[in-house]
């Protein structure tokens, strides 16, 4: 290979990657590396004790990151404005997936929720993750379309957007996966708010969300296990063996880390597996115990930098669609982070959502990295 072609390649690489927003790339990179270590820390002892490959989860997690990274890269290749063409397809696939999970025999129930489609070989996907992207891109498209630069969306536009979101949300509610519904609702609210739609919509939807939540609990639309989770949040001793146990152990595990933590791989609570689901939904407890306030605070810092940077990109773009996509993705990540970490620290009721970029899990990792790709895409096309 000639020197020339090598240089040409390097240039093309710089062209492709060098233009990405560095702050975004670095903060997500840091979260991915920490997440990988935490997934390994959470699972190595457990698997070794059962004579299984201690690196089983580590290997799969790295593969997930690589696939997700590729998806993110692919997302940045086409101008995000052209993505609109694919949105109906993504939306359609998401809705199809959400229907499939509800069909007995096809969907599988994990922790009380029918959220997964199982494939042979232990491979599972969660259509709700895909639905998040479809909804964010879909309603951003509707609210930003056919407009003079300074015109705000009309009531009709908002109604259309809500109609698009309503179908997948309803399907997710049936699973039921309340945590994801809350996240999607937050993203929708942020998008509608930022779109310039009449303020009464934002206020009205907020009130509707509160009433809806209250009625759902009262009328029993929400499953018993979710009421139990809510009760154990209010009174952790109500159900000491199941949900309350999890929340109490989780808090103790994080608190016991202290300022500097017990050291990576050295957390007795983690190694004793006192907190269930510690490689997925409760992974922040591993960070809390083993890395202490310094390490877990650094994770919060990375998220905060990521959000600030993404907001900067949203502000800079003159394209409303791009801005709304950015805001939607930020609100999704931020609420999911808040729900997840807040749950492990006893700040919000328990919901089964993973921590973005950190938790083990393919579907969520792919969706998160595609979300990152979307923001980078907006950044790349803002000149």
């Amino acid at each position: 290979m000639s020197i020339y072609s090598q240089r040409k390649r390097r240039d093309r690489f710089r062209e492709n990657f060098g233009q990405f927003d560095r702050m975004l790339t670095f903060s997500v990179g840091a979260l991915l590396i920490i997440g990988t270590l935490l997934v390994y820390a959470a699972t190595r002892n457990w698997f070794a004790a059962q004579d299984l490959d201690p690196q089983y989860y580590l290997k799969r997690h790295v593969v997930n990151i690589l696939i997700g990274g590729l998806l993110a890269y692919l997302t940045t290749l086409i101008d995000y404005r052209l993505l609109r063409a694919y949105t109906p397809i993504v939306w359609g696939l998401a809705v199809l997936g959400l229907i499939i999970v509800l069909i007995p025999g096809l969907g599988s129930k994990i922790n009380g929720s029918k959220a997964w489609i199982s494939f042979p070989g232990g491979f599972q996907i969660q259509p709700a993750e895909l639905a998040k992207i479809a909804i964010i891109v879909g309603i951003s498209m509707i609210l930003a379309e056919k407009r003079d630069k300074d015109a705000n969306p009309t009531d009709q536009d908002v109604l259309k957007a809500l109609a698009i979101a309503a179908v997948p949300i309803a399907l997710i509610l049936v699973q039921p996966d309340l945590g994801t519904v809350v996240i999607i609702s937050a993203a929708i609210l942020a998008i509608i708010g930022t779109s310039g739609a009449p303020t009464r919509w934002v206020v009205g939807l907020l009130i509707l969300a509160v009433i809806g939540g209250f009625v759902a609990v009262q009328t029993g639309v929400v499953d018993k296990y979710q009421v139990a989770r809510l009760q154990s949040f209010v009174d952790p001793t109500a159900d000491p063996q199941a949900t309350g146990y999890q929340l109490r152990q989780s808090r103790i595990t994080i608190g016991s880390g202290g300022i500097i933590g017990k050291g990576l791989f050295n957390g007795p609570q983690t190694n004793g597996r006192f907190v269930p689901e510690q490689q997925t939904d409760f992974i922040f407890t591993v960070a809390g115990e083993e890395l202490g306030f310094l390490g877990s605070g650094f994770i919060l810092l990375c998220f905060t930098l990521f959000f600030l940077r993404a907001f900067a990109i949203a502000r800079r773009t003159n394209d409303l669609f791009g801005r709304l996509v950015c805001v939607g993705v930020i609100a999704w990540f931020a609420f999911q982070t808040f729900e997840n970490i807040g749950m492990t620290m006893g700040l919000v009721p328990m919901t089964g959502v993973p921590l973005p970029f950190i938790s083990y899990g393919g579907s969520s990792m792919f969706a998160n990295l595609i979300g990152l790709g979307l923001i980078q895409n907006v950044h790349l096309r803002t000149r």
Partner: protein, 694 residues
């Protein structure tokens, strides 16, 4: 883009940043502000203490003979963490263990379940500890059974055979001593909550008697192995480990041979009383060194086998211990039994009379009865003894002399309207002997008896005033007799005042007066040694197994010169006369030891549970030899009948053993303490101790 859009973007940004700040704040609280609290909580979740109890020290007599000691027992245990992982969850192994130790597999299965794992009706047999400690299924395994387990580990996975200490009572001289020794048992919830003690749940602790009193010395320090466990309670690693430290040995002042003889004499006396037609529901006998307060023997009847506490009390045994029909065997009568002292109390009345300047050489009338107010107080068996001197009055136990003296003194003190500057010679004399409070013997739950002086009258009146003043509505129908109604009326009006009858009754140890046998022993000890009150002491010293003395309990003088010299001389003569020419002369005729003492036959106005009137309390309180007294010996048989024929005979048996009386002669080779009560500490080696027969 619209202004609203830009503005809302800023609002959304501010909202999201505040979410992140909320998380950071909460994180700071959990890990920095409250970090230590959560670190403690985590530690208690992860760590488990496996307690290895120490070998408990032995309790030995003054010559080193063990009364209680830990013996190796063989325990076979099931380790749930191993057994549960077997393909059949251990059912085959449990069946094999059951066959080996001769028990039903079902029982072994329940015995190895945590109490949360079994049905409510099986709670009696379930394991009250945790899953990760070996669960004992028998403590009395034989060596052969243990060897089978150890040699066939493939057949017995998770089963361990281990030697553990078991409390045993060698009874080398045939002694029982259950009430002195007390017993040991498992730590209960109440003990764990006691913040002054630092018990572990797995420990065995003293519950009564010496085992309780000196538990801190005897118990030793348990070894602790701290392990780190995971959520399923399987051990991840061992953290710290300390070895158990054996408890110290307790040397007592008891002598096993004398103890056995005292128990025998007491039991024989009770049975003799019964053969004479008395109920004789219990008794006590005590031997004390009058010159030091050392308790040389202490017996209570009825008694029980101390081993029952070790094997585990069955419901039947527990019922027996507290059974009224069996005489409540658990009651330690020497310290907890309270009886009217009757004539034995006259020794105290002598001191009272002498302080009131009565001449002991003068003669006094001893009529059949004395009229006091509207009541007639009769002599014992209503017999007149004519005019006699005081020594004779003590010897034949005349009551009427004392009625008159007590009444005269009561009148001098102002009668029903007491004067200032009261003499109260009788109460003062009783208090001088230390009565009215506990003796302070080093055994738990001592009762203080009852000294019915003016203060007691007042406080009793305050408590019962309402009852007497509303007698007609409050009393049982059967008690509404004209006589009782009249008494209630009097009590309602002036029940707080010491009446003539109270003063008269007190002088002969009747009425409301109650003494414990240990108090009686102390009184006669003081008379014997001429006026020094020693605190009764069972323990002699605490020693390490290498002989090093940890603590020595020297004689403790509570008061000196409590008796005037004159009264000591008179009492020695008079109490000797009881034995030579008085009420106990028949019993001691021809006995080679010069015993001085006093019989007592006390009326008890109470009723038994079955409604029958209580029988008389039979006392004999004594000391010997009358010149240079060494020992005080007291025996009481509740509802035993006459003091002389029941208790005096028992006391004579005790002296016979103590001095080695064989065929009416003292055989010095048979004497228990030929060189006096041991003053040197013995060599303590409970395992190899040999009994020397007197």
């Amino acid at each position: 883009m619209s202004v609203r859009s830009r503005l809302n973007l800023v609002i959304v940004q501010a909202l999201i940043i505040s979410l992140m700040l909320a998380l950071t704040g909460r994180l700071f609280y959990l890990q920095v502000a409250a970090g230590l609290k959560y670190q403690d909580a985590a530690l208690s979740i992860q760590s488990r203490d496996v307690v290895n109890p120490a070998i408990r020290g032995a309790i030995v007599d003054s010559s080193g003979i063990p009364l209680a000691m830990d013996r190796p027992g063989m325990v076979i245990s099931v380790d749930r963490s191993v057994v549960d992982k077997l393909p059949d969850k251990g059912s085959a192994v449990i069946a094999r263990v059951a066959k080996l130790v001769g028990k039903v597999p079902e029982n072994i299965f329940i015995a190895t379940r945590l109490c949360g794992e079994v049905k409510a009706q099986q709670y009696a047999g379930c394991w009250k500890g945790t899953r990760f400690q070996p669960i004992p299924v028998t403590r009395t395994a034989t060596k052969e059974q243990a060897l089978k387990v150890l040699e066939n580990s493939d057949l017995f996975p998770g089963i361990t055979a281990l030697s553990v200490p078991v409390r045993s009572y060698p009874s080398m001289a045939g002694e029982n001593a259950a009430h002195v020794l007390g017993y040991v048992g498992s730590v209960n919830e109440g003990d764990l909550l006691d913040s002054s003690k630092n018990y572990y749940r797995e420990e065995t602790i003293g519950k009564d008697g010496l085992e309780f009193q000196y538990d801190e010395y005897l118990r030793g320090r348990a070894g602790i192995k701290t392990v780190i466990v995971d959520r399923k309670e399987s051990v991840i690693k061992q953290a710290v480990s300390t070895q158990p430290v054996s408890g110290f040995n307790l040397v007592t002042n008891l002598d096993v041979r004398l103890q056995a003889a005292t128990e025998k004499a007491l039991e024989t006396s009770v049975l003799r009383a019964r053969s004479l037609g008395n109920r004789a529901d219990g008794g006590a006998a005590i031997v004390m060194d009058v010159n030091s307060g050392k308790i040389l023997a202490l017996a209570s009847y009825p008694t029980y086998d101390p081993n029952i506490w070790q094997v585990g009390l069955t419901a039947k045994q527990a019922k027996y211990l507290f059974s009224d029909a069996a005489g409540v065997p658990v009651l330690s009568r020497p310290m907890q039994g309270m009886y009217a002292p009757a004539s034995t109390f006259k020794a105290i009345s002598v001191v009272a009379a002498m302080s009131a300047n009565y001449d002991m050489k003068a003669s006094y009338k001893c009529p059949a009865a004395v009229q006091i107010g509207n009541r007639e107080f009769k002599n014992f068996e209503a017999k007149s003894q004519g005019t006699i001197n005081m020594k004779r009055a003590i010897a034949v136990s005349c009551d009427t002399i004392w009625y008159q003296i007590a009444y005269d003194q009561w009148v001098k003190d102002g009668g029903l309207s007491p004067k200032s500057g009261l003499h109260d010679y009788f109460f003062t004399a009783a208090r001088g002997f230390g009565l009215g409070k506990i003796t302070g013997i080093d055994l738990p739950s001592e009762a203080s008896g009852r000294l019915p002086d003016r203060q007691w009258k007042e406080s009793f009146y305050q408590q019962n005033k309402n009852f007497y003043c509303n007698f007609k509505t409050r009393a049982k129908k059967s008690d509404l007799t004209p006589y009782l109604i009249e008494i209630a009326r009097e009590n309602c009006i002036d029940g707080n005042v010491l009446r003539a009858g109270d003063a008269v009754n007190f002088s002969i140890g009747q009425g409301d007066t109650l003494l414990t046998p240990i108090q009686m022993t102390q009184v006669y000890s003081v008379i014997a040694n001429g006026g020094t009150i020693y605190q009764p002491q069972v323990a002699r010293a605490v020693v390490k197994s290498n002989g090093e003395v940890v603590q020595e309990f020297l004689p403790k003088v509570m008061a000196t010169e409590v008796l005037p010299k004159k009264s000591v001389t008179f009492l020695h003569e008079a109490l000797r006369a009881v034995v030579t020419e008085g009420t106990a002369a028949g019993v001691f005729s021809g006995f080679p030891v010069n015993v001085a003492g006093k019989t007592g036959t006390a009326q008890d106005l109470g009723n038994n549970k079955d409604g029958s009137a209580k029988g008389d309390t039979a006392w004999f309180a004594s000391f010997a030899p009358v010149k240079n007294p060494k020992y005080a010996v007291v025996m009481v048989v509740s509802q035993g009948g006459f003091g002389a024929s029941v208790s005096a005979v028992g006391v004579k048996d005790i002296y016979a053993a103590l001095f080695g009386v064989v065929d009416g002669k003292v055989d010095p080779t048979q004497e228990i303490f030929p060189n006096g009560v041991p003053s040197k500490l013995p060599k303590v080696d409970p395992k190899n101790a040999k009994l020397v027969k007197p």
